[in-house]
């Protein structure tokens, strides 16, 4: 019962974060802040969803697989965001400042 609830909370939080990320992607003014919204929320939201699913599966091979997926995403996701940001900076895209046209 508790596990059901814990799983539910984790999944709901994860979904909420992912929605927040999407909203940020849509609403933020420039490339860097959008990347921030997408990248940050994605990593945590994946972690929460995986955790929620692992609660559902219990201590089985499935949760080991889920953990592996999480571990790999934990490495790749930040690196991808970093590379995108780095590439944008190197190609001369300036961050947005207040009062300036985007």
């Amino acid at each position: 019962m508790i596990i059901e609830w814990a799983s539910l909370v984790c999944l709901a939080l994860g979904g909420l974060l992912s929605m927040a990320g999407g909203l940020g992607l849509h609403r933020f003014p420039d490339f860097y802040s959008r990347l921030h919204a997408a990248g940050l929320s994605d990593t945590l939201c994946v972690a929460l969803i995986m955790l929620g699913l692992a609660f559902q599966a219990g201590l089985t091979l499935v949760s080991v697989k889920l953990f592996l997926i999480f571990a790999f995403l934990y490495f790749t996701n930040p690196t991808a965001s970093y590379c995108l940001g780095h590439a944008a900076w190197r190609s001369g895209l300036k961050p947005y400042r207040r009062g300036q046209e985007s």
């Binding site: 790999f72 490495f75 690196t79």
Partner: protein, 140 residues
């Protein structure tokens, strides 16, 4: 393209895992979901990651374009070759049962060879496509 340290480290760490997973999908395909096409795509994903991290020159020193072309042809040849081997053994085209004395073993061998052919072709063709596009973008 100036390779990036962080990406290099990550790629070094990830590529072996990607390849292991690809081979798992390839050769475990008759017991669990998977098969040649999926494995080929995963292998070429590893190749793409390698190019992104270490640059096209280094990658082409490893697998030249010409070799990729040969590989993609070889894969198709393996596929049709198995089919024709079935014909020669007295069965219908792609009737793997006749490949070995035992029907089931023959089926097994047949499907593994066929999927291997598919895997080789898909991996080399997708890598070839990526390499060609990468070359193009550098020209213009």
């Amino acid at each position: 393209m100036r390779p990036d340290l962080l990406l290099k480290v990550l790629a070094k760490f990830l590529i072996p895992f990607i390849l292991i997973f690809a081979f798992y999908v390839q050769f475990h395909g008759d017991f669990s979901p998977g098969g040649g096409f999926q494995a080929g795509v995963i292998i070429s994903a590893a190749a793409v990651l390698y190019v992104l991290a270490f640059g096209l020159e280094l990658a082409e020193r490893g697998i030249p374009l010409r070799a990729l072309q040969y590989l993609s042809s070889t894969g198709i040849l393996l596929y049709t070759g198995v089919g024709v081997a079935c014909l020669l053994k007295g069965g219908n085209f792609l009737d793997y049962s006749v490949l070995l004395d035992n029907d089931v073993a023959g089926q097994h061998l047949g499907i593994i060879l066929i999927e291997l052919g598919v895997g080789i072709t898909v991996a080399s063709t997708l890598t070839l496509i990526f390499f060609t596009f990468a070359h193009w973008s550098r020209h213009s």
